[in-house]
């Protein structure tokens, strides 16, 4: 804080060069500080054992402040800029330096992310103030402190001006997620899930750390600005990037990919996300659906030019994304826990985003992130409300006809909005954002992108099916419910569901409206000439990821800063968009409107048939599949999540654990027992050998004394010979 004060005080006296700093909105750093202040205050509340909702109020106010500041930043935005806060890791030495300041880099991509992060953060904090009320005085402050930590870390991640700041946020959100998943720390499942989330994420972090090392050793800087400049400089020399030396440039995107796959729960590192649903639902909504898991998308968008340096990097991203989408959707179809369904759906939708990134549609990915944030948040929050009202009940077989119950209308219909968006129902926000990705899969020429496109369309059908499976089961049909296992002492027979009150309903409506409105940006006019895709495209265009904005005209050169991005984007875009793909002979952008609409309706129809019209048909289908030897594996494997967790445990965890046990044995037995104690025991063994000499007879001592003296004399007599021998053998050339 002192450094902030200093920078504020110091500016008026500064040189002309620092004018930029004066113009730069230094107050933007309070977007970061507000959650931190909230964290400190919540910590104080916990220490003072405050028994009111004060922590929630504090958090909501500070997060709202952050959101307002972000809005101000957005409306005052004039161009990308760096806001320096203080020196963090600033190592200089003779001939070099490693600089990673605590500084913010603001461009429109940042703002896009920050808008929904802080906005949804505020709303979900409001929601949680009611949702968590049974913990007031117990874990309430801890919960909101965790939310504050998350917001702080997420802001660092998104707003940092260098990769190490991003890493700070990256691990920070991982830690916040650990904190909040393990919120119910007395439930072993929650603790295990928290641990799993952190450790699996750490594998991704490992990739990020190595990528940072590589980037620094290749470009000499880890600041986004510096990297762009370096890239641009080499682009001007030659169209190739081989000047950066061999393998390093090609290895960077794969390491970054590893990080992104870890954080955004893609194959093969997605396993932590479904388990993370052990956390309180607002956490699932905020962290594990809307914001944190999209950090991987952000990372790749932020470092998009680096991915374009390698021919296979983006296609691999696309393939991993596409396969994850399909894979998670198949699991989601067969789950009964609605929160888990949502979790797998999140994994699946994240797969879409990666597909978008991979097929050179960073715009589509960003747009899908944006819309997904709203509709997935609302879905999770409605699940949370249901869970809250039915004492932890999440099994869709044990809930039915919610929309007819008293006080559950808002929940039911906001959930419908979320489901429509997720299923890609025509003219909802999800419909447009998903189409942007699907169309691009056909437009962009790449390794099997067309197959991927068809896979994604098929997955869209599955999505519609499992989404409406939830809604038809839970909200339609006859009224029926069973309470869950969190009765808090109530008698199961006298159980009455308690519908949500003002705070939750308000938030549900607000976010559901957001989900609907999120379709609007698609139709907004573009200020920049030539690009399609509305407001989000505009936002993405002003970032390193502009290479993925359709029809981006990148000839405009205004200032040095702009050329940096333009250059790279130019090269790649020209190359890849030279030939425009097609789908069934039509322009993909237009055709996709119809195709995905139809596929979505088919999925919805199946869901309607199996889960509302003839619910028994679903069970009988399942039984039929189980009865046949050839198809039995399908439902079993899908219900057991394809046994991926078991596979990991068998292939990675158990061998390592056995290795650990083995090492512990080696350590005790061989290294310590045999080597160390062996060497230590040698003198004793030798002593035993000589111990008959010490038989108590004076004369034998005399003999050894005389023998020793004789040896010494002999040694002295032959000393010169011994010395010359030693010198010749041990020390080669004595100077």
């Amino acid at each position: 804080m002192i450094s902030i004060m200093q920078s504020i005080i110091a500016t008026p006296a500064g040189q002309i060069d620092q004018l930029v700093d004066i113009v730069a909105p230094t107050w933007a750093q309070f977007i970061l500080w507000m959650p931190l202040i909230s964290l400190v205050l919540c910590g104080l509340c916990a220490a003072l054992k405050v028994k009111t909702k004060a922590p929630a109020i504090i958090t909501v106010i500070s997060l709202a402040t952050s959101f307002v500041l972000t809005l101000m930043l957005y409306f005052g935005y004039e161009g990308a800029e760096v806001i320096h806060i203080f020196e963090w890791i600033h190592v200089h030495w003779n001939g070099g330096s490693f600089i990673s300041d605590f500084a913010l880099y603001i461009d429109k991509l940042t703002l896009l992310w920050m808008l929904f992060v802080t906005g949804l953060g505020t709303l979900i904090a409001v929601y949680a103030s009611e949702y968590m009320e049974h913990d007031v005085g117990k874990g309430y402050a801890r919960f909101f402190a965790g939310v504050s930590v998350f917001l702080f870390a997420m802001s660092c991640l998104v707003m940092g001006d260098n990769l190490l700041m991003l890493y700070l946020g990256w691990e920070g959100v991982g830690f916040a997620s650990y904190w909040l998943i393990g919120y119910f720390y007395q439930r072993p499942a929650a603790v295990a899930a928290a641990k799993k989330a952190f450790i699996v994420n750490r594998i991704g972090d490992l990739g990020l750390a190595l990528a940072i090392y590589l980037i620094w050793s290749t470009f000499g800087t880890i600041q986004y600005d510096g990297i762009s400049t370096a890239l641009a400089a080499h682009n001007n020399d030659a169209a190739t990037f081989s000047a950066f030396g061999g393998w390093t440039v090609h290895a960077i995107p794969y390491l970054l990919m590893l990080a992104a796959f870890g954080k955004s729960a893609q194959l093969p590192l997605y396993v932590w996300l479904p388990d993370a649903m052990e956390g309180p639902t607002p956490v699932s909504a905020l962290i594990h659906a809307a914001t944190m898991v999209t950090a991987g998308v952000y990372l790749i968008a932020r470092t998009y030019p680096l991915f374009q340096l390698d021919d296979y990097a983006l296609p691999i991203v696309a393939w991993v994304g596409g396969l994850t989408a399909l894979f998670a959707a198949t699991i989601g179809m067969a789950q009964y826990d609605i929160k888990r369904i949502m979790a797998y759906s999140t994994v699946s939708q994240l797969g879409y985003m990666f597909l978008g990134l991979g097929v050179l549609s960073s715009y589509g990915a960003a747009y899908h992130v944006f819309t997904h944030a709203f509709f997935k948040a609302v879905l999770f929050l409605t699940c949370g409300a249901i869970m809250h009202g039915f004492a932890g009940q999440l099994d869709l077989r044990k809930l039915s006809g919610l929309r007819k119950m008293r006080g559950w209308k808002i929940v039911s219909y906001t959930m419908l909005v979320g489901c429509l968006c997720l299923a890609g129902f025509p003219f909802t926000s999800g419909y447009f954002s998903k189409d942007a990705i699907l169309a691009e899969a056909f437009v962009t020429q790449g390794s099997g992108f067309e197959i991927l496109g068809w896979l994604a369309i098929f997955t869209a059908g599955l999505t519609a099916y499992y989404t409406f499976r939830v809604w038809f089961r839970v909200c339609c049909g006859p009224e029926y419910y069973e309470p869950g296992d969190e009765l808090h002492g109530d008698d199961p027979s006298s159980f009455h569901p308690h519908p949500p009150r003002v705070a939750i309903n308000f938030v549900l409506i607000a976010i559901a409206s957001g989900a609907i409105i999120a379709a609007l940006p698609y139709f907004m006019d573009n200020e920049t000439k030539g690009i399609n895709g509305g407001w989000v495209a505009e936002m993405v265009h002003d970032s390193p990821a502009r290479g993925g904005v359709p029809n981006a005209v990148v000839a405009v050169v205004d200032g040095e800063h702009a050329t940096a991005h333009e250059g790279v984007a130019n090269a790649v875009v020209d190359q890849d968009h030279a030939t425009h793909g097609s789908i069934l002979g039509m322009d993909p952008h237009k055709a996709m409107y119809y195709i995905s609409g139809v596929v979505g309706m088919i999925g919805l129809g199946f869901a309607f048939f199996f889960h509302l019209a003839r619910r028994k048909a679903a069970d009988s289908l399942r039984n039929k599949l189980l009865a046949s030897r050839f198809t039995r594996w399908l439902p079993i494997a899908m219900e057991n999540k394809w046994y991926v967790d078991e596979f990991y445990i068998a292939v990675i965890r158990t061998p390592l654990w056995i290795l650990g046990k083995l090492f512990a044995l080696i350590d005790r037995g061989i290294i310590d027992g045999l080597l160390v104690n062996g060497i230590a025991g040698t003198p004793r063994a030798i002593a035993k050998w000589f111990s008959p000499l010490h038989n108590g007879a004076v004369q034998s001592y005399a003999v050894s004394m005389i023998g020793g003296a004789a040896l010494v004399i002999l040694l002295m007599m032959f000393m010169p010979e011994i010395m010359s021998f030693l010198q010749s053998t041990m020390i080669g050339a004595t100077p």
Partner: protein
């Protein structure tokens, strides 16, 4: 007083004599079983050493050799006093001069 010539060969003869004395002392020390005679044998070794000291001192015209012999005398006297007192003391207990009889002192 001028001293007669005393060459290296002369010194060597004296040293060999002293060496033989020392060896006889050692052998005696090793073979005898009587505590007192063992002490006497150490005195014999002292004699050898004394001759070597004086001869070497004579060779170098240095009196330190003889001074050393004085210290040897001192030590011998002290040793005789103490050791004999011990022997008397032990003999009173065990009525023997065989060092093997006192084996448990070593433990």
């Amino acid at each position: 007083m001028m001293l007669a010539s005393f060459g290296a060969a002369t010194l060597a003869s004296y040293l060999v004599v002293s060496g033989i004395l020392l060896v006889i002392g050692v052998v005696g020390f090793l073979v005898r079983r009587n505590l007192i005679v063992m002490f006497l044998c150490t005195e014999l070794m002292f004699q050898g050493a004394a001759i070597a000291f004086v001869a070497a001192g004579r060779y170098y015209l240095d009196y330190s050799g003889q001074v050393m012999v004085i210290f040897i005398l001192t030590v011998a006297a002290a040793e005789a006093a103490l050791a004999l007192a011990l022997v008397v003391f032990m003999h009173r207990q065990r009525d023997t001069l065989d060092p093997d009889a006192y084996g448990e002192l070593a433990e």
